[in-house]
């Protein structure tokens, strides 16, 4: 006992903990920073509204908004002056509008009755138009510099002023000037038509400004409040903030997400038996001594491992392009046009095939290793007992390879659960269509977006990082169940 303890102490002295830490820390630090920390950060993001707008907003833009806010507060200080000027402008504009309406009615009447306007009438009209012009011009002058805060939410004054100035110049050039040039001459209906339209245009323009001026003149507090609210709303949109369980809640009420869970689990149910069956069958078949060159064939069968997914999966997609060889074959076999870009289940079938193709080398290798490990004596005993080939396979060989195959099945189930590359490279999880499940509101989305791909697309396409992180939070629940099953089945993960 004492000797043993001394031995243990000697080992400790031989391999000092300090040295171990120095050796391990770089890798651990790298792992913690680039894997564990992002995962932790991702959990935080799942409870935020992170999106392209608010992760890294342009600081200049935020400063502009803050300045505009301060400017609006300043304007509030001089409210009496602003209000009185706005009121004057308002009255001028209302006067102008009344005169212009009168002008319009007279011109319109002449146009409709198709008669010329007499010089006497024309004098009256010219006078009215001149007065209207003066009113508009005065109003434009009144609002000049009335309220200048440089933000889209409060560019009130330049906007009003711009509109009023435009109305004034239009009035001067296209109404007052032609009327004046007709001095002592009748105005023909066609000339009246042109002037009438210009008057109408002016009325429309000043109407546009009228509500804004009225708001400043009569409801200044409301106006200031609405501007500040708009700015605050925009600032809020640019701020990354926690939203509690909103993302998860949104997901659980999103038919696309529920359908994605369904599709993922369905894919596990279809692809796992397929690839395990093919892998095990190939292992048994190519174990037969009756095949010439089986060793070379076995080595060649592992080729899918050697090919990067980017090449192999896109090649499968190529094989199913409309008109391509396998597309034709499958169309013939299934009796309909086999189109992975149009038909939901055609794409799903192809995913299964490709997943099988990618994974059979693994299952096959594990199974062949197990077959090689079966003691010769057991098999020989079955010959003596005179068992049939099938019985020998089922009762003797299969139970012997059961455990390793089960282990490999669990691992490959994890791969199917996290299937991502295959749907992504085949058609991005498409085709798209309307999805409606469990009485939830129908949504338009990709019909074959498996869970991992769903999260990826929310981030990569929609740039909704908070939502995408929430997807992975839900995925973690599935993965946790999977890992528990894996540990239970393989007794601590070390398997075999």
């Amino acid at each position: 006992m004492a000797l043993l303890r001394r031995g243990a102490r000697r080992v400790l002295r031989l391999y000092p903990i300090k040295v171990a830490l120095v050796l391990i820390i770089p890798s651990l630090a790298l792992y913690l920073f680039f894997t564990i920390w992002p995962i932790t950060y991702s959990i935080y993001l799942a409870f935020t509204n992170a999106a392209e707008t608010n992760i890294a907003p342009n600081p200049d833009y935020i400063r502009d908004l803050e300045n505009a806010k301060a400017c609006v507060y300043n304007a509030n200080e001089t409210r009496e002056e602003i209000q009185s000027r706005a009121l004057e402008a308002y009255e001028s504009v209302v006067d102008a509008r009344a005169k212009l309406t009168q002008l319009y009615d007279k011109l319109n009447k002449a146009v409709e009755e198709n008669r010329s306007i007499t010089p006497i009438e024309l004098m009256g009209l010219t006078k009215v138009s001149r007065e209207a012009y003066k009113d508009v011009y005065r109003a434009a002058d009144d609002v000049k510099g009335l309220f200048v805060c440089n933000t889209t939410y409060a560019i009130i004054s330049p906007y009003i002023e711009g509109n009023l100035s435009a109305a004034a110049s239009r009035l001067a050039n296209d109404v007052v000037k032609p009327l004046e040039s007709k001095f002592m001459k009748p105005l023909t209906p066609s000339e009246a038509r042109g002037i009438r339209d210009a008057v109408n245009d002016t009325i429309v323009r000043i109407n546009l400004t009228l509500t804004s001026i009225e708001v400043i003149a009569k409801d200044f507090d409301g106006f200031i409040k609405s501007v500040l609210d708009s700015i605050d709303q925009e600032l809020d949109r640019l701020k990354l903030k926690t939203v509690g369980l909103k993302n998860v809640d949104e997901l659980l009420h999103d038919s696309r997400f529920i359908y994605s869970i369904f599709k993922t689990l369905l894919f596990v149910l279809t692809s796992v038996p397929l690839k395990v069956a093919v892998g095990v069958a190939l292992a048994f078949f190519f174990s037969s001594e009756l095949i010439y060159g089986r060793k070379i064939m076995r080595a060649l069968l592992l080729t899918p491992w050697a090919i990067p997914t980017l090449l192999s999966v896109t090649t499968w997609r190529m094989l199913f392009e409309p008109g391509a060889f396998l597309q034709q074959t499958f169309s013939y076999l299934t009796g309909h046009k086999f189109l992975i870009l149009n038909n939901e289940w055609d794409a799903f079938i192809l995913y299964n095939i490709v997943e099988m193709w990618l994974a059979y080398p693994f299952i096959m290798t594990v199974t062949m290793g197990a077959i090689a490990g079966i003691p010769k004596e057991i098999i020989e005993a079955t010959y003596i007992d005179g068992a049939s080939v099938w019985l020998r396979f089922r009762k003797v060989l299969l139970p012997q390879v059961m455990r390793p195959v089960l282990f490999a099945t669990v691992l490959t189930t994890g791969a199917s659960l996290q299937a991502f590359m295959v749907p992504l490279l085949i058609n991005g999880g498409g085709p798209s269509g309307s999805i409606s499940v469990l009485g939830l509101e129908p949504r338009y989305g990709n019909l074959n977006e498996f869970l991992i791909l769903y999260g990826y697309n929310r981030a990569y396409i929609d740039r909704e990082y908070g939502l995408a992180a929430a997807v992975y939070l839900v995925v973690v629940v599935f993965l946790a169940i999977y890992v528990l099953a894996w540990l239970k089945l393989t007794r601590g993960g070390r398997g075999r």
Partner: protein, 300 residues
């Protein structure tokens, strides 16, 4: 190997007994071999198809198995290697892959050595966590990439040029490969005799001596394994590279493949050029691939 031969003869015996007489064995052998070749052909057909597509003249889609009706050319390959965008992507990939090898070797070899030789508090917990985390790498991996992107974007706005920077990738790749590669190398070190290191410690060697005279010489072949996996990992990865806006050759091909209109001949030639280094290294590292899959590091 010996084991498999022993078993195979048993299977042969099984069939012999099952069919009863020797004469049919030759017939069965021929039939089974032909079936085996057919299976092999159908399973490797996609690869053959990719190669044919890449050399078909005029960029047409190969629709028929009658290969004599097409004309063949290497123009797609020549066009690829003379394309400046392709060249740039390859150079970026080479830089990223070499840096990844360096980072992985420098960081993981000592750690794996420590996990193999030293007993310390938390050792088993870390190893076990590595094992579990490497199983769910796919799901967590992308969650981590998204969060990492958000994080890097924030730093980018503060003025650090991290997005589109190829030098960030090796750190991320190596970090992601830490669990699997540590396990792989630890198993390798477990198989090496301990006496040499123990002697060094007993002689009271300094840390520098221990690292350069003991750890490094013992890890030479381990480093080769790590280097191969590090290269294959960095060369083939495209999701992270694309997300972080680094145009590696894989990311370049991915963006091309995601496009609506595909020029299959062009694409196949480029994808095959891209795949060649990985296929070659696969041949070299073949015996470790099975181990790699056991830890869920590769596809499948």
């Amino acid at each position: 190997m010996a084991k498999s031969r022993r078993y195979s003869s048993s299977i042969g015996g099984m069939f012999r007994h099952g069919f009863g007489f020797i004469a049919t064995v030759y017939g069965a052998k021929i039939v089974l071999t032909v079936v085996g070749l057919l299976i092999l052909f159908s399973l490797l057909f996609p690869i053959l198809f990719a190669v044919i597509t890449s050399i078909v003249k005029g960029g047409v889609l190969v629709t028929s198995l009658d290969l004599s009706k097409y004309n063949y050319t290497l123009a797609n390959y020549i066009e690829a290697v003379t394309d400046e965008e392709f060249q740039r992507a390859v150079v970026t990939s080479i830089i990223v892959s070499i840096l990844n090898i360096i980072v992985a070797v420098v960081v993981i070899t000592p750690a794996a050595y420590a996990f193999s030789r030293f007993k310390f508090w938390g050792r088993d917990t870390i190893l076990f966590s590595y094992l579990v985390l490497s199983q769910v790498g796919g799901g967590f991996g992308i969650a981590a990439v998204i969060a990492l992107y958000v994080f890097l974007l924030k730093l980018q706005v503060m003025g650090l040029p991290l997005l589109g920077n190829p030098f960030v990738l090796p750190l991320i790749y190596t970090a992601g490969a830490v669990p699997f590669q540590t396990w792989l190398l630890k198993s390798y070190f477990d198989g090496l005799p301990k006496e040499l290191d123990e002697a060094a410690f007993i002689d009271g060697a300094s840390w520098g001596q221990i690292v350069f005279k003991v750890v490094l010489p013992a890890s030479k072949s381990a480093m080769v394994i790590i280097a191969i996996f590090a290269f294959m990992g960095a060369w083939g990865e495209f999701i992270i590279a694309d997300f972080l806006r680094v145009k590696t050759i894989a990311a370049y091909l991915y963006v091309t493949a995601a496009g609506q209109r595909m020029y299959w001949s062009k694409f196949a030639a480029r994808a095959i050029l891209f795949a060649i280094p990985i296929i070659v290294l696969y041949g070299v590292a073949q015996k470790y691939i099975g181990e790699a899959l056991r830890y869920g590091a590769a596809k499948g």
